[in-house]
Symmetry: C2
Subunit: 364 residues, 2 copies
Amino acid sequence: MIRETAGGGRRGALALPHRTVQTPVFMPVGTAGSVKAVPQDVLEALGAEIILGNTYHLYLRPGHEAIARMGGLHRFISWQRAMLTDSGGFQVFSLAKLRKVTDDGVEFRSHLDGSKHFFSPEHSMDVQIALGADIAMAFDECTEYPADRQRAEESLRLTMAWAERSLAHHKANRQKTPWFDEKTGKRQNLFGIVQGGMYADLRKQCAERLVEMDFDGYAIGGLSVGEPRELTLEMIEQVLPMLPKDKPRYVMGVGYPEEIEQYARLGVDMMDCVLPTRAARHALLFTSEGRVNIKNKQYAEDQNPPDPNCQCPVCRRYTRAYLRHLVQAGEPLAATLNSIHNLAYYLGIMQRVRAEMATANASL
Amino acid sequence: MIRETAGGGRRGALALPHRTVQTPVFMPVGTAGSVKAVPQDVLEALGAEIILGNTYHLYLRPGHEAIARMGGLHRFISWQRAMLTDSGGFQVFSLAKLRKVTDDGVEFRSHLDGSKHFFSPEHSMDVQIALGADIAMAFDECTEYPADRQRAEESLRLTMAWAERSLAHHKANRQKTPWFDEKTGKRQNLFGIVQGGMYADLRKQCAERLVEMDFDGYAIGGLSVGEPRELTLEMIEQVLPMLPKDKPRYVMGVGYPEEIEQYARLGVDMMDCVLPTRAARHALLFTSEGRVNIKNKQYAEDQNPPDPNCQCPVCRRYTRAYLRHLVQAGEPLAATLNSIHNLAYYLGIMQRVRAEMATANASL
């Protein structure tokens, strides 16, 4: 269901168990089962078709077994559109304490209470199957930046071995998702993750190996970890041609508004990032006129909408002066309204890009 | 437009400049121009017809002059239904530092930055006229509890003198509200506030004097300040018969769900309280089955709605387990969803009471 356009972008539709998602798509991040400060009905009204959940957070609290007993993540958070869970690997490496990595997996202590836990590829699959998102991710090691070649090779060896184990364990257990339906054949998808640090040849080697393994889709991970943006772009450009055309391509953890548009036009189908919501909580708005730090005094009596070219519910109703006041006064509504606008802006970029691609297709 | 029912309650409609409000009514509190954590469109959907703003907070931040320049409070916060502002007196006495009270007014230091300010009855009127709510309140001294008779008498003397000055200054300047309309005669209302501590005869004396002054409506203030509930009830019961039947009666700062129902049935037309939103931010839900501390472990896997008898958007969509998780995880959505439910519960009580009164009227 994916058609390439002249510029290399891909207009498609991803038929997932809970929703057919129009691509290229931006996926808001719902870390602990909530896209921070934004109610689910608002996300629906904004046109969000797929959101993320973080396996690490949900595993620690409230726990994947509790969520499974309650019918899975969709039901637990009351979100009946599509969802994706990451593997937990990224947070284990960025948030958890006292990690001990072996070939078998990662032992770590919770950032919440210091309790000891162990994640292996098999355990990550079990947790993600219990959560029951539409898409699960293979357990990988997110190579830090910078990493020298030896370190990147060693990390990649682990990621590839873990990808194989993830795939095997997922295949054998994926029927255990709370909503698995033998009759319709609806089942959880598993994506592999291309790593390899900033070494194009390692990235290609990884992509080739993962494609042989035959995942349902492919992600490019380990980007936006501090490297210059040219390097991010180079890695994406090197990897994309290695991936099969008929399967979705997901670049994890990007990015700024101009980045998501650029990558979508390169042929990336899926992206996610905490930036729109995190920036919103720090009073930073993304607008068609550039970034607006709504805390600035210059907006104190500015009665224009946050973005004069935006039709989101916040821009239709409220002024910059009011949003600034909410931030200044420490009102919780500030996070909500700022987040709604930023998400609308991100989702709107993808809507526009998709519409342009559809037009390009029509004129072929 | 007010009809008394057999039990003493009053079913009415209050024609205010921005909205005809059905009474008895509960008014959510929007302290600094936002009912905390709840967007304006949600308040509308819940049926809120009138909300409060706090003069003290808005005077300090963003400032009444800035709000007036932006067209008044309704426009500033994008709320086109009715609003009421308090006089600032209560917060000056409860929040501000280093107060110095004279017959002229109160000198105080801001709780925000320690800056020095002075509130007189005239200044409170100027600020409230600039904010431009539908209803302004006379500047009063909220007598603390307990207060001995001498202290209560002295405080009452001040309140009555200030009421007279408030009324005169308001009458002379009320055409300065940002939305004043000479043609339609739409103008800001001013309510007097009955004080007198817990002394019934002082309360009656105050009510009598205020009624002579002829305000647009009458409030009973200085309740819910720590006194036992029987005393609150006694004061209300003593004062209500003193007030003219054709004018609205407002008991300030109450109360628990059972209280607002009880007072409405006694003939109180208007009430406000931070309790539903403040309790919500501390995970306390008011439900038809009693109070629910949603943080409790017993709700960890409880898939019932927060209140099985409630039709609010939160109870229709989410489970107790999810709300508990949001609180446990420190998610900002917890405050929003809990507040929406509690406000729906409070507004629902008044809807039910109004419907019952209408039926009682019909059967007379």
